[in-house]
């Protein structure tokens, strides 16, 4: 029965073509039906049927996302067929679907070996391709010798592919280097450009991961750079030199000339020219002639009509921009023109270049240009522009900004750009500037007022962070505002109900600050009727708000009360709490205001209450250094258990009942009280006696002294340089600054205001990345191979290289005149090797590798 079924199946099996035709008819269930068929067919013994089924499955997997991992074993079966057609299908399926997790991976080793040894070059090719795409550690190890043989094959096609597979083999099984490296390097001298192209391609990849190990091969690469006429080869060699020259500057000098030669050629291909330019920009930028030539050439790219060349030209400029800004400045017109190009890539590159050009003098002008573009652009680009204006301006605590008034108004403008979505960043900067730059606070309040008053802005959710910053600033620096009444009104306008509750809470709290300030002014004013509100701010930066008459203050109070009454019943706790706070306060002092109007008694209870509240808001908030917490010394008498187990026990008991109950303030305070009681109990009963714990601490400190905070008594030294601040100071008062270079500008009327910076910088310290590389073993193997094999190679090459400009006498010299040098170098090398073995991983990659003499 089974055999008759299989006959039917094999005679009437749908071929791949039939499958494709069927798919094009567009039946929705066709794929699942075909899969059923395939599953049946693939289990049959006949290899032809199996292979057609496998082929169909590969097709479905690649183009329709059908999983084919289940057919792994069948693929192995198909590959074992002697027919070439089957092998092709099998290898194709394997290369497409096998991974490190495929369980039957082990089964193909022998088949691969057989095929690698085949006399048919195309069978060998199939096996090589398969190995190149799915090779695992085991496969690489087992098949190294076959690869070695093939590297010396007479058939060019096979050799090329064997070279290509070496990359994967080295990656998975570094010891293969001992076997194959020599042959690989020999191919560098091949005259066949395709072969050469394959070899330098492999070296390009290898060098990209670990440049240092391949430095000794620099002479060979140099020869190719000078001699070769094939663009593909030259491009790869240039990439290799780009990596090598960046770690070995002496190479840069040597290589600059040939690179310039290539650039000067008449009909040099654009791809090669571009690669030359890129190499110069990234690694040879110290070589003046090369750099100048490259900049001249890149201009050709920039003015070309071909959008590809324009884009690549801008891209190359952005590589050189950090170190050689003049190159960008020379091409300023091209860059500005590119801003209005229709290609989004080109526009983006131009934008980044423009911002790289920004400095103190032109920041206003450039920002103006960019904001104009932003208004005209689509949302994505608009936000890119805004982002790229915000970033450089805020770098290093606003280093390039001289005129903060202008910058703050710019920030306000940004908020009004229709597509603006950078609310968070703008919010951060507004508050940041407020805390650091005292002189700018007046402008900040002005800008904030404009933002708060506009009811339209309340509808735009992207602006909420900005509005919250504006509200905070208005409350915090209310003394600078011209009309506190207006501010309070804006903060409590009905449309604020659109705001999320957290921001609304900020609004209300700011209104509170405004109220306190106004009351303070009112109560401290000597004359109830004072001159009208000052129109202009005085130069000291404090605008005088006086003249709170009884009428004005009571209308303010009434307005606030009215605005908050409705909120005293909202669901959100934060909003409700703050509203109730203010209402309570108002209730307390309301009659005091009335009293003050009639009597002259200055020391009423209300007075004291007001003074007390003013004190609450009088402390200025300043920027805090990121290292401030660490400077806090351990308080005396604090005894810490080594691993704070006791604390965890306490916390567990407290947290669990809380998880079950609702959030009500009573429960919380109860738990806290419980904690306090517990604390005392614990302290007196089960904890080890104080003596023991302090000795535990001392022990811990001895062992890990490095990590303890410095206290006055301890002799541990901090790494931080020049830190003379008292450790008892948590953060410096707002007026203390590190030096901020003050350049008097002739044109600007106002000197640059003082910006508070903190000693250790305000960015959180980033931990250095762990520098362990995965290719440790590969690097070691390569270095060993290069130094060891150099001896034999040297003898062969001496004759060949006699005529060459560069006489390569690398480290392993046989001549007696250099014997001492050799001994010395050998000594170094062997000591390096042994020390490497002792120390294991770290040293090898960082040890300097011998560079050929001539290059020194």
């Amino acid at each position: 029965m089974a055999s008759s079924n299989s006959l039917m199946d094999s005679l009437f099996q749908r071929s791949l073509e039939d499958l494709i035709k069927g798919l094009r008819l567009g039946e929705s269930t066709f794929i699942s039906r075909s899969l059923e068929e395939i599953r049946r067919e693939i289990k049959l013994t006949d290899l032809s049927t199996k292979s057609v089924a496998l082929q169909k499955l590969s097709y479905l997997a690649a183009l329709h996302g059908v999983d084919m991992a289940w057919a792994a074993f069948h693929a192995v079966e198909v590959v074992s067929s002697s027919r070439f057609a089957h092998k092709r299908i099998g290898y194709h399926a394997i290369a497409q679907s096998f991974s490190d997790q495929t369980p039957v991976m082990l089964l193909i080793t022998n088949q691969l070996r057989k095929d690698l040894n085949s006399s048919n070059e195309h069978e060998v090719s199939l096996a090589l391709e398969c190995l190149a795409r799915i090779g695992t550690d085991d496969l690489a190890r087992d098949l190294t010798s076959e690869v070695f043989t093939l590297l010396g094959s007479s058939k060019a096609l096979v050799r090329k592919k064997a070279i290509g597979v070496v990359l994967r083999v080295f990656d998975k099984y570094p010891d293969a280097v001992k076997v194959c490296f020599k042959r690989l390097v020999e191919n560098l001298e091949s005259s066949d450009p395709q072969l050469l192209s394959a070899v330098v391609g492999v070296f390009c990849e290898l060098t990209a991961k670990d440049p240092r190990s391949y430095l000794p091969l620099a002479p060979e690469f140099y020869k190719i750079l000078v001699d070769s006429r094939n663009n593909w080869v030259l491009i790869k060699v240039l990439k290799i030199f780009a990596k090598l020259a960046s770690i070995e500057p002496r190479l840069a000098k040597k290589v600059a000339d040939p690179v310039c030669e290539h650039m000067r050629k008449q009909n040099v291909g654009k791809s090669l020219l571009f690669e030359c330019i890129r190499t110069v920009f990234s690694s040879l930028s110290d070589q003046e002639t090369a750099l100048k030539l490259a900049v001249a050439k890149i201009r050709e790219f920039l003015v070309d009509d071909d959008p590809n060349l324009k884009y690549l030209g801008l891209h190359a400029l952005s590589i050189v921009a950090p170190k050689h800004l003049w190159a960008v400045l020379e091409n300023k017109e091209a860059v500005v023109k590119a801003m209005s190009d229709e290609d989004p890539n080109v526009k983006l590159e131009a934008l980044h270049l423009l911002m790289a050009m920004v400095n103190e003098d032109n920041v206003t002008e450039i920002s103006r240009i960019l904001m104009n573009y932003a208004l005209k652009s689509d949302p994505l680009f608009c936000n890119e522009i805004i982002c790229s204006v915000l970033l450089p301006c805020s770098r290093n605590s606003y280093e390039i900004i001289v005129d903060f008034d202008w910058y703050l108004s710019l920030l306000g403008e940004m908020a009004r750009v229709p597509h603006c979505q950078r609310g968070k960043e703008i919010e951060h900067q507004l508050i940041d500037i407020g805390t650091r730059v005292k002189d700018a606070r007046l402008e900040l309040v002005r800008v904030s007022r404009a933002l708060l008053i506009d009811p339209a802005l309340l509808g735009n959710q992207f602006l909420y962070p900005i509005l919250s910053a504006a509200a905070w600033a208005s409350g915090e620096y209310v003394e600078f505002s011209k009309s506190p009444y207006e501010i309070a009104e804006a903060l409590l306008q009905p449309r604020t109900c659109l705001l999320p509750d957290s921001i609304r809470a900020i609004y209300i709290h700011s209104a509170f600050k405004v109220l306190v300030f106004s009351l303070g002014a009112y109560f401290s004013a000597q004359q109830p009727t004072s001159p009208p509100l000052a129109q202009e701010s005085t130069s000291s930066g404090h605008s005088m708000v006086n003249g709170f008459t009884y009428n004005s203050i009571s209308s303010l109070v009434n307005m606030i009360e009215l605005g908050l009454c409705s909120l005293s019943g909202t669901i959100d706790v934060e909003v409700q709490e703050r509203a109730k706070n203010i209402l309570g306060f108002i209730g307390m002092i309301k009659h005091e205001i009335a009293e003050k109007a009639t009597s002259q008694n200055s020391e009423t209870e209300g007075h004291r209450a007001i003074a007390f509240m003013e004190d609450v808001f009088s402390e200025e908030l300043g920027p805090v250094s990121s290292t401030a917490q660490e400077k806090v010394p351990l308080p005396e008498g604090l005894e810490l258990n080594e691993n704070l187990e006791g604390l965890q026990e306490i916390c567990r008991e407290v947290l669990e009942p809380m998880a079950e109950s609702d959030y009500s303030s009573d429960k919380v305070s109860f738990s806290v009280a419980k904690l306090r009681i517990r604390d005392q109990e614990e302290a007196s009963s089960s904890l080890p006696p104080p003596l023991e714990s302090s000795s535990l601490l001392a022990e811990h400190r001895k062992r890990h002294g490095l990590y303890y905070l410095s206290s006055q008594k301890s002799e541990d030294h901090n790494d931080r340089e020049g830190n003379d601040n008292n450790t008892s100071n948590e953060y410096p008062p707002a007026n203390e600054i590190s030096v901020d270079s003050f350049k008097p500008k002739k044109k600007i009327s106002k000197p640059r205001p003082v910006v508070v910076k903190l000693d250790e910088g305000d960015e959180p310290k980033r931990k250095p990345d762990a520098s362990s590389s995965n290719d440790e073993s590969l690097s070691r193997a390569i270095q060993t191979a290069l130094m060891g094999k150099g001896k034999g190679k040297e003898k062969e090459k001496e004759i060949v290289k006699e005529n060459h400009e560069m006489n390569v006498d690398t480290e392993n010299i046989e001549q007696s005149s250099r014997r001492e040098k050799k001994n010395k170098k050998n000594g170094e090398r062997s000591s390096k090797r042994s020390s490497r073995r002792q120390r294991g991983k770290e040293a090898s990659v960082t040890k300097p590798v011998e560079v050929p003499d001539l290059l020194l």
């Binding site: 094009r24 290509g164 192209s197 394959a198 491009i235 959008p307 884009y311």
Partner: protein
């Protein structure tokens, strides 16, 4: 290194997709869709390069060419030159042209196997192998001959004789 080669039509249907780093099939389909959405929003007469770090990881670039109803896409990293990759697409298309004489999308649809043969002679394990279309054609023809020869060995499946014998 070349990370992927794709051919898809202007409706987003993939006609060929080869990834040189292993990826599960769902991820492959996701990437194909992602690339299509980026490509379909590109205007005409702009550059052929795209940065697609979001799809393929850091240092990934994409070059594409639009021929009639097909997009040819190459994804690569920093060790390949952009203009050279553009040339490579040219080589691929030229070779296909030689193979099928005035190749069109249908040729590509129905000759899935041959497409891969051609591609495998140009890009090997992510490395550029051959850039002359004549050489590629030579190798492709040899392979086709071998295949045809191996397929013509027996037209009658073994199971028939087995059946006759079994009964």
């Amino acid at each position: 290194m070349i990370k992927a080669v794709m051919m898809m039509n202007t409706q987003g249907k993939p006609r060929l997709a080869k990834f040189y780093d292993f990826l599960p099939v769902e991820k492959q389909q996701e990437l194909i869709r992602g690339v299509f959405s980026v490509l379909s929003s590109r205007p005409e007469n702009v550059s052929n390069f795209l940065e697609i770090d979001s799809l393929f990881g850091p240092d990934s670039r994409l070059v594409y060419k639009h021929y009639a109803t097909l997009y040819f896409v190459l994804v690569f990293d920093g060790s390949e030159n952009e203009l050279a990759m553009l040339d490579l697409i040219q080589v691929l298309v030229e070779t296909l042209d030689k193979c099928f004489s005035n190749v069109c999308e249908l040729d590509i649809v129905f000759n899935y196997s041959k497409m891969h043969t051609v591609l495998d002679e140009i890009v090997f394990g992510g490395q550029v192998l051959e850039t002359r279309s004549d050489e590629v054609m030579k190798a492709v023809e040899e392979i086709s001959k071998l295949e045809a020869a191996s397929n013509s060995i027996s037209l009658v499946p073994k199971s028939v004789s087995g059946w006759r014998g079994g009964r």
